[in-house]
């Protein structure tokens, strides 16, 4: 799976995800990150793209839950994304990338690794795979 989230200097947000699914999946299987609200979501608070085991991501409505925690509980992007990945999605099944309207970035995951990269206007940039790099 691949995905990208972006926000401009005016707080406009967008998310996109694309995938081939699972190795050896059944023909006709729909259930991966493109499901709106599950693996991909954007509103005026944040934009989210998830990756991992699609069935788990759908059950946990991963992407929408990040936005909902920000909107209804007032959590920051980091707090909301960390809660969803650590408490909602089963272990070893999911990761996500997200940006907020304020230009924050987070990329949590509960798998061994996640191919990921980010950059912000203040000059921060990173490309990583495993958690402790």
């Amino acid at each position: 799976t691949v995905g990208c989230v972006a926000v401009d200097g005016n707080g406009n947000l967008a998310a996109a995800t694309s995938t081939g699914g699972l190795v050896n999946k059944m023909v006709g299987r729909i259930g991966d990150t493109p499901m709106i609200g599950a693996g991909t979501y954007a509103n005026c608070y944040c934009a989210v793209s998830a990756t991992g085991k699609g069935e788990s991501i759908i059950r946990a409505t991963v992407a929408r839950d990040v936005a909902a925690l920000m909107e209804y509980k007032g959590l920051s992007l980091n707090e909301a994304a960390a809660y969803v990945i650590e408490e909602c999605a089963p272990k070893h099944t999911a990761g996500l990338i997200a940006v907020s309207a304020k230009g924050e970035v987070t990329m949590p995951f509960n798998t061994v690794g996640m191919f990921r990269a980010c950059a912000t206007e203040d000059g921060h940039s990173e490309v990583k795979i495993w958690p402790d790099e």
């Binding site: 799976t1 691949v2 995905g3 990208c4 989230v5 972006a6 926000v7 401009d8 200097g9 947000l13 967008a14 998310a15 996109a16 995800t17 694309s18 995938t19 081939g20 699914g21 699972l22 190795v23 050896n24 999946k25 059944m26 023909v27 006709g28 991966d32 493109p34 499901m35 709106i36 991909t40 979501y41 954007a42 509103n43 005026c44 608070y45 934009a47 990756t51 991992g52 085991k53 788990s56 059950r59 099944t93 990761g95 990338i97 940006v99 230009g103 924050e104 970035v105 987070t106 990329m107 061994v112 690794g113 996640m114 191919f115 990269a117 980010c118 950059a119 206007e121 490309v127 795979i129």
Partner: protein, 185 residues
């Protein structure tokens, strides 16, 4: 407040011992795609354009599981999916079950912009792609030798697996109930 961008190329049981010949191209692709996105944002492109642009680039890279390089179904075919969403308007579009569309993400955007619907799948999505003149290609374009081998290994281990997860069953596991082949995931 300022612009920001993040991208991913899949998650899973990525081995730390991944050989350099497999690791380096993926790292290079992440750098390349990030730079494309940064340049687009700096140029004032709307975030919706930026995420489509970056995902198209990732789809065209055979080292990631989307577009060229998509993993294979149990029948050895590809069935690709994509979704795009605009935060301001909450407009969105999604597609599933694509077999010939070169860039699924761009078709998802057309679903969002050119139809009253938000999700098209399989034959209907392919027909819509042809109607819109979206670039298509033979299915073989998407299939890589690496993914043919991964399917063989997954079948041998009787597993369904997420991106980059190794297909060898762990000691003591019953192959038929490992990973995703259990019905509860």
């Amino acid at each position: 407040m300022g612009w920001a961008i993040a991208l991913h190329g899949g998650a899973g049981d990525i081995p730390r011992a991944m050989p350099p010949e497999r690791l380096k191209p993926r790292e290079a692709a992440l750098h390349h795609c990030l730079q494309i996105g940064v340049d687009a944002l700096k140029a004032g492109r709307p975030p919706l354009d930026v995420v489509e642009l970056v995902v198209r680039e990732l789809e065209n890279n055979p080292h990631f599981n989307a577009g060229k390089g998509s993993v294979l179904t149990s029948n050895g075919t590809v069935e690709m999916e994509a979704c795009i969403m605009d935060g301001n308007t909450k407009r969105c579009g999604a597609v599933s079950g694509l077999t010939t569309v070169k860039n699924a993400i761009s078709l998802a955007r057309l679903v969002m912009e050119k139809t009253p619907h938000i999700y098209l799948a399989f034959d209907g999505a392919e027909a819509f792609a042809r109607e819109q003149g979206v670039e298509n290609t033979d299915t073989s374009h998407f299939i890589t030798p690496e993914n043919i081998e991964r399917l063989k290994q997954a079948k041998a281990a009787n597993r369904v697996q997420i991106d980059f997860t190794q297909s060898t069953p762990k000691a003591g596991e019953k192959a038929s109930v490992t990973a995703l082949d259990s019905q509860d995931g």
